[in-house]
Structure formats: structure tokens, C-alpha cells
């Protein structure tokens, strides 16, 4: 491996794990830049590793490239062409959804898919094939992408939906090459507001029932769940359904300027929080207060940031977890596996795993991405401080339960999955490997996540671990 100069430390949003990489040398001239980059990739000596990094919002090591090079979102910001006739945007991959929204909402256009933060880049959104609160209606991000430009070791090409590389890249976590620009379809909106229907649900069975019954009548749907509640209140939630508001839905004051959009960052979290700040007591108190103050049943008008990106109002909120950081565990189980879902929620509750409001969402049909996360079913995401005792064993057990149920864990959030379970969770892994093997035989675009989970190599080293765990869990009282 070549010796790198000027390395710096990069970590994920959960602040763990981190590794050192060098910034990719770039040419200042936008016209020459991409050719120079393609040339650099094509002539990289054996053992070189390189990864495109966006805004570092993936929680674990998906955007880390230990001992290699990373490009940053500042490297790809040259093109921004909005075509209102075709309702399409061609933009460089380093633009964030935040910037796209700031520029296009006032014109009456919204992105089809936004996750819980708008600080993700276009490139990152494709690489993780992100989903939003409308997955059950509109699918994942890639459903609204026409094409993108990709730099691989052999070429710099525009990849379209008919190319297998397109589907290996959607959810491929950056390991197919560098996305430099993409063309996405946009959604026409009348206003920048969401008409939100809020309803409380006293327990998880009712949450599931309500979402099944009502999701299809709304574009957006999500449940915020108190994963610490137990007994009859297990999985109590506040469910919100949303619809883009029409001008007629707005009060006269808002209707004067229906497309106004100016999200603001109200607070910045300092980097001095001790690791124990977010503990069982403080998290439980927060969840309790939040559940109590939620209205039982209400219809309201909310702004796009307030509905979609509430946490973005506090910048660097991940610092509140202190130096040791936290992880997000997001898994998904297929429809029909509601019992598994409830059993897992029960497990978190019984283990008293401290987690702020967890997010439950019902997925619609999958995309064709080989490693794309969503498939029809339920997904739950929990933020958990790393210092939680017994966390490793708990999540290992749940990984296994999820895999057995035909579900999977989300790579964009992962920082500790059992590698042996990946082929079971992602049955199209071999198909993905074939495509990537052809486009990048030397394994240049291998992230720390890819190395940790042996995504590129076919070896399953410790089948016995899976068996032991399976046996242990099968015997336990947890299922």
C-alpha cells in the first residue's frame, strides 16, 4: 500500500469506529477534474483504496476508508441544472438534499425521497438507496433516479437503469465506484407544508394495526415509539401521517407565501458532553414526557423541516452522546413477521436498552438494488449509547432473530453486524459481487464496512458461530 501524506481521522455519525485516510488530491479546474480523477483511479497501484465520502451521516464505518483516500462532497459541486419541463434535476453528487430543497422548494419542487436528515448528499442517497416516510407509496431513492455518472477503474460512464451496475450501485455503499453526478425526478408541490395527522397508540399491536389500516390513505407515515415502555404499554407510539398541503389547507398568513422555505439551525451541541449524559434515567424521562405531551388525535400543518427533519434543528446532535458515541440499530422484517417484530421490541424493553424515540415504519415493494435495504415489511431504528452494558450480546442475538425471519440490518447504520449473517440477510450478495468483481477487480473501492463484513470476498469463516448463536437463542426464553 502506498504511504499517504496528510491523513486525517474520519468516523461515522455515531462517532465509532473511526480510521485515518488521506484526502483525495483534486484538480481545481472543474473541466479537468473528473478526467484527472478517472485517470487516478485507472492507474492506481495495487493495494490502493479509495472511497467517495459524502456528509458522513452513515452511522458506522460505511464512509471510512482506513489507509486509503477519501473524496469529500466539496469535490463534486459543479453541475446544478434544473429542467422544469421534464421535472428533472441534473446535479453533481456532492450537493446535499438540504441545498436541493433550498433551491427548488421555492420553485414548487420537492425530492421524492428524503430521510430523517436533509444533510445527505445526492451520491450518498444513491449509494445507501435511502428511504423516507413515503416508502410504502413511492419506494426508495433509486426509484426516482434516471441515471448517474460513475467513475470505475475502467471507465467514466453514464449508468442507466438497464445496466446491472446501476442496481449494484443502488445500495452498494460506494463500493462500485465514485458517483460524480446524477439525474433525478422531482415531485411538484403546491406548498412547502405538510398536513399532518397525529394519533397516539397505547401499544405495539395497535400501532401495527393502525399503520396497516391507514398507511395506504397517506403519502407519508411513521411511528415514533417509546422502546422503554413495557407491559401493556409495550411499543406505545405516536404515529404521524402526512400529505403535502394544498394552498387551500393553509391559514391566510401562510397562504400568502405557500412555498416559503427557510430551515434554520437553532442550536449547536457542544463537544463537551460527558458519555453518561444520555443514560437510562434521562432517556426514560424524555420518552415519558414526549409521549404524554403528544395529542391523542389531531390534524395540523407543519413545515417540511419540522415534519421530516426535526433533529436537524440541533446541529452536531451526535455529540450529545459524548466521546464513546452511540450506534443506530436499524433492522427490517418482512410482512407476516409481526410477531418477530414484537418479540424484538419486547427484548429491547426487557433489557432496558436506553434508546430515544425509536422509529417504526412500514415498507412497500423493494427496488431492484442488489443490496438495497427496504423490502415489504417493517423497519425499526433505535439509537443506543455504546456504553450500554451487554449491548454486543443483545444485538448479536437480535441479528440472528432478524436473519431467521428473512429480514436484514441496514448497512448505512451498521457498525457491528455479525459478518457471517450477511449472505443470509442479503441473498443477492453473490449477484452483487459478480457485477462489482467485473467493474473493480482489484477492490479499490472497498470501505471499512466492506472489509469488516467481508462484502467483496466469498469466505464465510465461522459458520460455527452462527450455529452456536442459533442454538443459544433457540434454547433461550426470548423467542
Amino acid at each position: 500500500m502506498p504511504q499517504l501524506a496528510n491523513t486525517q481521522l474520519f468516523g461515522g455519525w455515531g462517532r465509532s469506529p473511526s480510521s485515518a485516510s488521506a484526502l483525495l488530491p483534486t484538480d481545481k479546474d472543474p473541466a479537468a477534474k473528473l478526467d484527472a480523477l478517472a485517470e487516478f483511479v485507472a492507474s492506481a497501484p495495487d493495494g490502493t483504496r479509495l472511497l467517495a465520502r459524502g456528509m458522513g451521516r452513515s452511522y458506522g464505518d460505511a464512509a471510512n476508508c482506513a489507509g486509503g483516500y477519501v473524496s469529500t462532497h466539496y469535490d463534486f459541486r459543479d453541475v446544478f441544472e434544473f429542467n422544469p419541463m421534464r421535472e428533472e434535476l441534473r446535479a453533481s453528487s456532492g450537493f446535499s438534499l438540504d441545498e436541493i430543497m433550498r433551491r427548488l422548494i421555492p420553485e414548487g419542487y420537492f425530492v421524492y425521497v428524503t430521510p430523517g436528515t436533509r444533510y445527505v448528499t445526492l451520491g450518498g442517497a444513491i449509494a445507501a438507496d435511502i428511504h423516507g416516510k413515503n416508502h410504502h407509496k413511492d419506494g426508495s431513492f433509486i426509484s426516482h433516479v434516471e441515471s448517474f455518472e460513475l467513475i470505475t477503474p475502467s471507465s467514466r460512464i453514464e449508468v442507466t437503469r438497464s445496466d446491472p451496475l446501476f442496481w449494484a450501485t443502488a445500495g452498494g455503499m460506494g463500493m462500485t465506484g465514485i458517483i460524480t453526478a446524477a439525474t433525478i425526478r422531482l415531485k411538484k408541490v403546491q406548498t412547502s407544508y405538510i398536513k399532518v395527522t397525529t394519533q397516539k397508540s397505547p401499544n405495539v399491536s395497535e400501532t401495527i394495526e393502525m399503520m396497516q389500516r391507514l398507511d395506504d390513505s397517506f403519502t407519508y407515515s411513521v411511528a415514533w415509539m417509546d422502546s422503554l415502555a413495557s407491559g401493556n404499554s409495550l411499543g406505545r407510539s405516536v404515529i404521524t401521517w402526512g400529505e403535502h398541503a394544498s394552498v387551500a389547507d393553509l391559514e391566510p398568513k401562510l397562504a400568502d407565501n405557500p412555498l416559503s422555505y427557510g430551515p434554520s439551525v437553532k442550536l449547536k451541541a457542544p463537544d463537551i458532553a460527558p458519555s453518561w449524559l444520555l443514560n437510562m434515567a434521562s432517556i426514560r424521562a424524555f420518552n415519558e414526557a414526549w409521549y404524554r405531551k403528544a395529542p391523542k388525535n389531531r390534524v395540523s400543518i407543519e413545515s417540511i423541516p419540522a415534519y421530516f427533519h426535526p433533529l436537524d434543528a440541533v446541529s452536531d446532535w451526535n455529540r450529545l452522546y459524548g466521546r464513546t458515541g452511540f450506534l443506530q440499530y436499524q433492522f427490517q422484517v418482512p410482512l407476516g413477521q409481526e410477531d418477530t417484530l414484537i418479540s424484538i421490541i419486547h427484548r429491547f424493553s426487557r433489557n432496558r436498552t436506553p434508546s430515544f424515540l425509536s422509529v417504526l415504519k412500514r415498507f412497500g415493494p423493494s427496488s431492484s438494488g442488489h443490496l438495497s435495504f427496504p423490502q415489504p415489511g417493517w423497519t425499526l431504528a433505535l439509537d443506543i449509547p455504546i456504553r450500554t452494558s451487554g449491548l454486543s450480546e443483545l444485538l448479536d442475538g437480535i441479528d440472528f432473530q432478524v436473519a431467521e425471519a428473512g429480514g436484514r440490518v441496514y448497512f448505512a447504520k451498521d457498525s457491528r453486524l455479525i459478518p457471517e449473517l450477511v449472505p443470509k440477510m442479503y441473498p443477492r450478495l453473490d449477484e452483487w459481487r459478480d457485477v462489482v468483481e467485473k467493474s473493480d477487480p482489484k477492490g479499490i473501492f472497498l470501505s471499512d464496512l466492506g472489509r469488516r463484513l467481508s462484502l467483496r470476498s466469498g469466505e464465510v469463516k465461522k459458520a460455527s458461530l452462527v450455529e452456536t448463536l442459533g442454538a443459544a437463542i433457540g434454547k433461550g426464553p426470548n423467542l
Partner: protein, 253 residues
């Protein structure tokens, strides 16, 4: 690659025969660790650890020769091990010898040997590991130090001083490595009931190798850089270090 909870996938251990080290690997192979490289001088001891590990895990266990006292070859051989096993993400320094104060303090040869194995060798090995991990942009080094190195006592000052050298060396190296992706954890166990100490009387706050191993795993998850095991030892040592010498003299060790 080490995961968010500090669990390694491929570990190099020097002093692979050490009780604490083998208790640690025993736990790691039941977690994410897929390959263990035992390094040391005594093949027979390492082979015992190897078969012990393979009796309950399908992790691959390799044995390589590294001699802490052979300062000429230590650095190039360590680099070779890293080249042969590029996936090494954790190195554990567990080599060391306790010696015997009564004979050590009168024999310059024995003093030299003690410092060779407990201080000079470790400094060379740690430097080699740090440089390999820096190239890789990631890696963790666990240094098994000792409370004997935190405050050197008259009853075993030859051993204590050699451990003190390694303890200070590691702590300062840990600071120097900040921002490189290389983390160093210094572990100061108290009195551990192991084969190295079986001939000695049990000290207060004595602990077991399994407990020390569990404390190390916990410390790695929390990204600590210095721990005592058991953790109460920290406060005992704090007091002990600050007792005036005139009074400390009255303490019988």
C-alpha cells in the same frame, strides 16, 4: 476491522502463552475474531493455547516466532508478520517476566535481561506495531502493564522499574498517536492469580485473568486509554503513590 464496540477480527499477541492474554483471546474468538496470531519464543506453550482455542472455536490460530530479547530481529520480524497477515487490527503486548528480586538485584546479567524483555523489547515491538497500524490508518494496541509499574516498590524494584518504563512509554506513545487511527489501551492489573504469580502470597484486591479480560473488552468498547483492573485499584494506587516516603517505608512491601 475493529467494530463500533471495539471487537477485533484479527489479533496479534506477543506473549501468547500469558494467562491474561489467553483468557482475552478465549473471549474474542467467541465474538468477532476470526484469526489469532500467537507470537513468542516457546512453541510448546503457544501450541497449548492454540489447541485450547481450537477446541471451542473455528477461528484460525497461527504461531510465529518473535523474541523480545532479540532486539536486532524484533522490528523486521514484526513487520513481516504484519505483511503476512494484512488483516491484523489488534496487537496485544503480553510478554514479560517477573523475575526474582533477591537474585536480580545482585546480578547485572539478570538486570540486563529483565530490562531487555520487559522494557527494551516492548518499546521496539510497540514502535513496530504503531508504524504498521499508522500505514493502515487503523488499529488498536493493548499493553498489559502492571500496578507495579505505576509505583515501583522496594520489594521488587528491578521488575517494577522495567514495567514502569513500558507503562510510561505506552502512555506517551498513545498521546503521540492521536488522530492517526491508532489507539493504545494501557491495562494495569492488580494482583492476578496466574501461573506467573502462583508462588506468591495473594495480595488484597486480587483478581482473576477472566475478570481482567472482561475489563479489557469493556474498556475497548468505551475507547478508554488507561484502565486498572479491578477498577478500585486506581484509587488504592492514587493514595499509595502520594503517601510520604517516610510513612511508606513502614508498609511491609
Amino acid at each position: 476491522m475493529i467494530d463500533a464496540l471495539g471487537q477485533p477480527q484479527c489479533v496479534l499477541i506477543i506473549g501468547g502463552g500469558s494467562d491474561i492474554a489467553s483468557a482475552l483471546v478465549d473471549k474474542w474468538v467467541d465474538m468477532r475474531c476470526q484469526r489469532v496470531i500467537l507470537a513468542g519464543r516457546s512453541f510448546s506453550v503457544m501450541e497449548q493455547v492454540q489447541s485450547q482455542l481450537q477446541s471451542h472455536s473455528s477461528a484460525k490460530v497461527e504461531i510465529v516466532y518473535l523474541d523480545m530479547a532479540d532486539h536486532e530481529s524484533l522490528a523486521p520480524l514484526t513487520a513481516e508478520v504484519f505483511e503476512r497477515f494484512p488483516e491484523i487490527d489488534m496487537a496485544v503486548l503480553a510478554a514479560g517476566q517477573l523475575g526474582d528480586q533477591a537474585s536480580d538485584e545482585t546480578d547485572p546479567k539478570r538486570i540486563e535481561q529483565m530490562f531487555d524483555v520487559n522494557a527494551t523489547g516492548p518499546a521496539i515491538f510497540l514502535t513496530a506495531c504503531a508504524s504498521e497500524f499508522k500505514k493502515k490508518g487503523a488499529g488498536t494496541i493493548v499493553v498489559l502493564s502492571s500496578v507495579a509499574g505505576e509505583k515501583v516498590r522496594r520489594s521488587n524494584y528491578v521488575y517494577g522499574a522495567s514495567k514502569a518504563a513500558t507503562d510510561s512509554f505506552s502512555l506517551a506513545m498513545s498521546e503521540a498517536l492521536r488522530g492517526t487511527g491508532v489507539n493504545v489501551l494501557v491495562v494495569r492489573p492488580g494482583f492476578v492469580s496466574t501461573k506467573m504469580t502462583q508462588h506468591l502470597a495473594k495480595a488484597p484486591l486480587a483478581t482473576t485473568k477472566e475478570k481482567v479480560a472482561a475489563d479489557i473488552i469493556d474498556a475497548l468498547a468505551k475507547k478508554r486509554t488507561l484502565i486498572w483492573s479491578p477498577k478500585e485499584m486506581r484509587w488504592v494506587m492514587l493514595v499509595y503513590k502520594h503517601i510520604p516516603r517516610a510513612i511508606a517505608r513502614k508498609i511491609p512491601f
